[in-house]
């Protein structure tokens, strides 16, 4: 198992390094100029000074090396020192061109909103999808199965920006049950503000979990169908196990193996979905930060967020591989 894990890890690092080169090169070589939006009345020498203040006059490989060094060494060190309460480190962190503050500080401000909405949506989606998939495979081709399958297909095909529009129209405008805009300044202090928080989270969470539910239900159902056709199920039934024990203990347990990796791989996808959902509902999370800094041409922030998403994808792949190896010993000896 250890050598399997190490092999997977050994592949992840060069992947990340290459992605960082791609992300950096795409932005550094793009023909846009971060100075383009400044007034034309600024004299050329001031402009050059501003460029060097942003670190734009250094050669490309130097800028890339600096960025990588900041990402890998300086930022983690700052984080650890902040945790331990050590002060007085003045290493150059990655600075946002827009706010002139450290990018990771921005991200730390935005992350809680994204994580509460996303985390809740993902947990909810999984909690609904697993029983739904198991039951519709057990009752294959029944009315329940058909309805569940149809809804799952719809959930995959309806883009989040449209399901969000429909839900806003029905629940926020027509029924007026929930607000259509997320208010991040709301602090949960008592029962009424807690209820307001639940209400404003309802729509974004439903939109995000709809996709998760749809996807995982389909995988779970397919895996269960495969498992239920196996001989060991017949053996378990012949042995006299109750249907419940057969379904949960035998079939579901075995079909969870591929589904666990699907769940792990879905995490980065839901972050990408959050970019759109946050834009619709005005949640000021990571996705909105990405869009606003993109519009403001704030390259360090954009680079860093994109890179973090790439790290997330690679990590999710790694977790999926490791979980697969842990759950299914056959995979380890490839």
């Amino acid at each position: 198992m250890l050598s399997y894990a190490l092999r997977r890890l050994a592949f992840a690092l060069p992947t990340l390094l290459t992605i960082s080169v791609v992300v950096f090169a795409l932005m550094a070589l793009a023909p846009g100029d971060p100075m383009a939006q400044l007034p034309l009345t600024i004299p050329a020498e001031v402009r050059a000074e501003m460029r060097s203040a942003l670190g734009l006059d250094a050669p490309l490989h130097q800028r890339y090396g600096m960025w990588l060094w900041q990402m890998v060494v300086i930022e983690p060190r700052v984080a650890i020192e902040a945790l331990l309460g050590i002060e007085g480190n003045d290493a150059t962190r990655i600075l946002s061109w827009q706010t002139r503050g450290p990018v990771f500080q921005l991200i730390a401000q935005r992350l809680p909103q994204t994580l509460t909405v996303l985390g809740l949506a993902y947990v909810l989606g999984i909690a609904i999808a697993l029983p739904l998939g198991i039951w519709s495979a057990y009752r294959h081709n029944s009315a329940f199965d058909r309805v569940a399958n149809g809804i799952a297909l719809l959930g995959v095909a309806v883009p989040p920006f449209f399901s969000a529009a429909i839900l806003i129209y029905i629940f926020a405008i027509r029924l007026d049950w929930v607000p259509s805009i997320y208010d991040t300044t709301l602090a949960v202090t008592d029962w009424s503000s807690a209820w307001a928080q639940v209400r404003q989270m309802a729509l974004p969470v439903v939109v995000l979990s709809l996709q998760t539910t749809a996807q995982i239900t389909r995988y779970m159902r397919a895996a269960m169908l495969d498992a239920l056709g196996q001989d060991y199920i017949r053996a378990a039934r012949a042995k006299g196990l109750s249907e419940r024990a057969v379904l949960i203990g035998q079939a579901a347990r075995n079909s969870m193996i591929p589904v666990v990796s699907v769940i792990a791989l879905g995490v980065p996808q839901i972050f990408a979905g959050a970019i759109i959902t946050e834009q619709v509902f005005g949640v000021n999370g990571i996705g909105q930060l990405l869009i606003t800094s993109l519009q403001a041409n704030d390259l360090p922030t954009v680079q860093t967020i994109t890179m973090l998403l790439a790290v997330l994808i690679v990590l999710a792949n790694l977790v999926a591989d490791l979980a697969y190896g842990l759950l299914d010993p056959r995979v380890r000896y490839e």
């Binding site: 290459t18 791609v22 883009p159 920006f161 449209f162 429909i166 967020i305």
Partner: protein, 268 residues
């Protein structure tokens, strides 16, 4: 249903002759009526005409992006399936692309390259090419993987060995023996590619990073409509429904085709 959408959108100007960009300030925010079957927007542009024009752009983008991604995917899949020494590097490349955060990268590419390209080629062609290339370049991976598997299975078959023994060259081998035998898998991933390209393009437009505002696509119309959801829900619901219906129809087409060609599905 797909046929209906494609034909209606394709014949747009004949079905509904009003030009999409015609601004009729006298008929702003009009409800559905005889003059404007689906109403008008805040500048008095006819929604039906805009939907038809936007559909042409959306479908053209999806089709062109699909062709780009299928060509790339086929090339890589066939090459790595046929030649052992290419297999390792090409599959590592595929893994690498699979690990890229696609939506952020698309947003970045479009945001950074749109100004120079539209200056060079005109705003509409420039952005069209940019979006098609960007979507195509980030969506070929699954095609490549599927085709690689198909080709590898094919290479072990007797008729390939027979063809090789009669001295068939690689080029002829690909066009005469390999491609005709993987056309089924190719069609399935092409249809699924169209569906995902439609969704991707509308997501880009929805985030305001697609075509310019006066060149309405379905995603752009949905974005504009969402702001007026309270008073004029139809403006957001119609384009959204069209996006969904098209994506669903294309997916069903692909699924149905696969079920027909996959013997494992018949057995069940």
């Amino acid at each position: 249903m797909l046929g209906l959408i494609v034909i209606t959108v394709g014949l747009g100007p004949w079905v509904w002759p009003l030009p999409a960009k015609l601004i009729d300030l006298g008929a702003r925010n009009a409800g559905p009526g005889w003059a404007h079957p689906l109403g008008t927007d805040q500048l008095g542009r006819d929604l039906l005409a805009q939907l038809l024009a936007g559909g042409r752009v959306s479908l053209a983008v999806a089709g062109a992006a699909m062709i780009v991604s299928i060509s790339l995917g086929t090339a890589l899949g066939v090459l790595s399936g046929m030649f052992r020494w290419l297999d390792g590097p090409l599959m590592r490349l595929t893994d690498l692309f699979l690990a890229l955060p696609v939506l952020p990268l698309l947003l970045i590419t479009v945001a950074l390259f749109r100004a120079p390209l539209s200056a060079a080629l005109g705003p509409e062609t420039g952005i069209f090419i940019l979006i098609v290339l960007a979507i195509g370049a980030t969506s070929w991976m699954s095609t490549a993987r599927i085709l690689r598997g198909e080709v590898r299975a094919l290479m072990a078959r007797d008729f390939i060995r027979a063809a090789r023994s009669t001295g068939t060259r690689n080029g002829a081998m690909i066009t005469r023996h390999v491609l005709p035998n993987i056309i089924g898998a190719l069609t399935v991933s092409a249809t699924l590619g169209v569906a995902s390209a439609i969704l991707m393009e509308s997501a880009l437009s929805f985030l305001g990073l697609g075509f310019p505002p006066d060149m309405a696509t379905w995603g752009r119309l949905l974005l504009d409509g969402t702001a007026h959801l309270g008073n004029h829900p139809g403006r957001a619901l119609w384009p959204g429904a069209l996006i969904t219906a098209t994506a669903l129809a294309v997916t069903w087409l692909g699924d149905g085709y696969r079920d027909q060609n996959d013997p494992r599905h018949h057995a069940r």
